[in-house]
Symmetry: C2
Subunit: 350 residues, 2 copies
């Protein structure tokens, strides 16, 4: 684990109550998002995991975002964004770049509003993500993840077609939408009298982390928050330690296709730097072992990026006391059968 | 669908309030079971399924018993049974015969009480079920499903070793334990103001059906209940129509290994005959299609027998109105990876 030295806390930009900086996100934004998405999104379970808890020696709760509409938490932010657009903006259409979960979130939300959606996806995205995005009626444009800039393609479409760009994380409406996951976690933990000592979040660009951080700050302030990232894409862990945004070395590869952001978002890091206690990193093999455990024992389908928090617990990346309650996000389940089969083959133990 | 002619309702044995026949199950037994299992069992989610609901044209709720401890609802009845034994009985040990989910339920419950468990399982049971049962510390004895009588093997062990036999369904403590699933469904539906018009239950010997029938009769009396069975093992559907217990033709085969009971239980049929509106039947291919849908869209791991209610909805086995709310049990998720892979291969559409 990368611990956060106290000095970085002071160096971090923080929202001052009363005069939020531009593009900041307030707790009221999260509450508004919750009401906006209530009719369409699933309040996903915060599931007790008694066998896993007994194995690990502390209480584990699973926030099952793989059971969210579209198979990942991304629908929350995307629907919140689309719901906040004017009918005229929606009629012109939206564009998004995404490795596949934000793609489905935007495509599904756009379909609900009958808005045209164009999605820029890497050609090597999981087939299930491309097929499901097309299934929601979106136009999918494929690009080469290692040679082309998805941001440039997206911005060109904005300019040429008058579309609205729905950024995957660095946008207040997206962060507020993802924060509804944190509101639910706090309320669900309180309802079952299981105060959350720690929460682990799967982290790419940091949108889910930022949303959950804001929710817990208000509703469960004693909770310590940690990010989980794949090896080679630990930009948030290193940035938290350094107190400033650092990038990943180019050319890295990981099976965790949902978590391959080059660096933390500007907005998301401004929120997370002051609120996250540390960043954990897991290997692809550890993510695979967690996918296998989820399949065999939890009966949940997880994609690699959705399994990194479970992987961090199974691989003991964090020292956790016997009396503690730890909630982890299982952020998505859009995995190709062959990828899961390989994880199961590499981890034969039931 | 096999509809139940009105005449069979009258011909059915019914419990008279005040003087229950021996071995009957009362609503108080269900409430007692709920308290008994509360500390160890999971209150499984009654999960909204918005995309499935939009596809089918009515509201669907998923009772995710695959997310129960051991991966199926069977832990409920088994733990309730073990908790009701005396310490002396438990110290001598328990024996059960089971295709694998009751096996795990009994083995896991016995492990919690440090009671020795001997489980008689068919040699062709899914490998994951045998391995997990052994993993809970039980002694597993394999038999030939098509040549040997599991009941005879179980009763021999009772006589020779002084073990207590934990029947898979035809026992009041088992039915009461499974009924906690129905108590939860009724309470969860009420809490979210979604009164249940219909409930579909995966049916083998009828223990889960009987428990849910008793729970709904008291807590959601307007709900119509249906059983779902695999083709060739539709003994309950035919027995409901006939008003008496009928057996399946011998030699039948189905991938739904959890639902291969030869005929309805005596106790369970006495409860179900008066309370179940009809029996649905699905083919193995329909069960496979449902497993694939659950994997790709719901992100839930289902075994064939756990997918039959979902299969019945996807294959339109029941005429359901647009305004209705239908809850289905997803009763278990203990499937071998190869079996699921074959279901996914046969149903490539995401």
């Amino acid at each position: 684990m990368t611990s956060l030295p106290p000095s970085t806390h002071a160096a971090t930009p923080q929202a001052t109550p009363g005069s939020p900086p531009p593009d900041s996100v307030t707790f009221a934004d999260l509450e508004a998002a919750r009401q906006r998405i209530a009719e369409k999104a699933v309040v996903t379970p915060l599931l007790p995991a008694p066998e896993l808890s007994e194995r690990l020696g502390y209480r584990v709760l699973l926030k099952c975002e793989n059971l969210q509409r579209t198979g990942s938490f991304k629908f929350r932010g995307a629907y919140n964004f689309l719901a906040g657009m004017t009918p005229e903006q929606r009629a012109r259409g939206v564009v998004a770049y995404s490795s596949g979960n934000h793609a489905q979130g935007v495509a599904a939300a756009a379909a609900i509003f009958s808005a045209p959606a164009t999605i820029v996806m890497p050609a090597d995205a999981p087939a299930i993500k491309i097929a499901k995005t097309r299934g929601y009626g979106a136009e999918v444009l494929l690009y080469d993840r290692y040679r082309e800039e998805r941001e440039a393609i997206g911005e060109k479409l904005v300019a040429e077609r008058g579309l609205t760009l729905v950024r995957p994380y660095d946008d207040p409406r997206i962060v507020a939408g993802q924060g509804t996951c944190g509101l639910e976690m706090a309320a669900q933990a309180e309802a079952t009298r299981q105060p959350l000592d720690r929460v682990l979040v799967c982290c790419g660009g940091g949108g889910l982390t930022a949303g959950i951080a804001l929710a817990l700050e208000a509703r469960s302030p004693q909770t310590r928050l940690y990010t989980c990232e794949p090896t080679g894409f630990d930009d948030t862990a290193r940035s938290l330690s350094a107190g400033r945004r650092l990038s990943n070395a180019p050319g890295g590869r990981s099976i965790c296709d949902a978590l391959l952001a080059a660096q933390p978002g500007e907005l998301t890091f401004a929120i997370n730097a002051a609120r996250v206690s540390g960043g954990l990193t897991v290997t692809d093999s550890e993510a695979e072992a967690a996918m296998s455990y989820a399949f065999r024992r939890l009966k949940l389908v997880l994609e690699p990026g959705g399994a990194v928090c479970l992987a961090a617990l199974l691989a003991n990346k964090l020292e956790i006391g016997a009396g503690e309650t730890v909630a982890i996000t299982l952020s998505g389940g859009n995995v190709d059968p062959a990828r899961l089969a390989s994880a199961l083959e590499n981890n034969p133990d039931p």
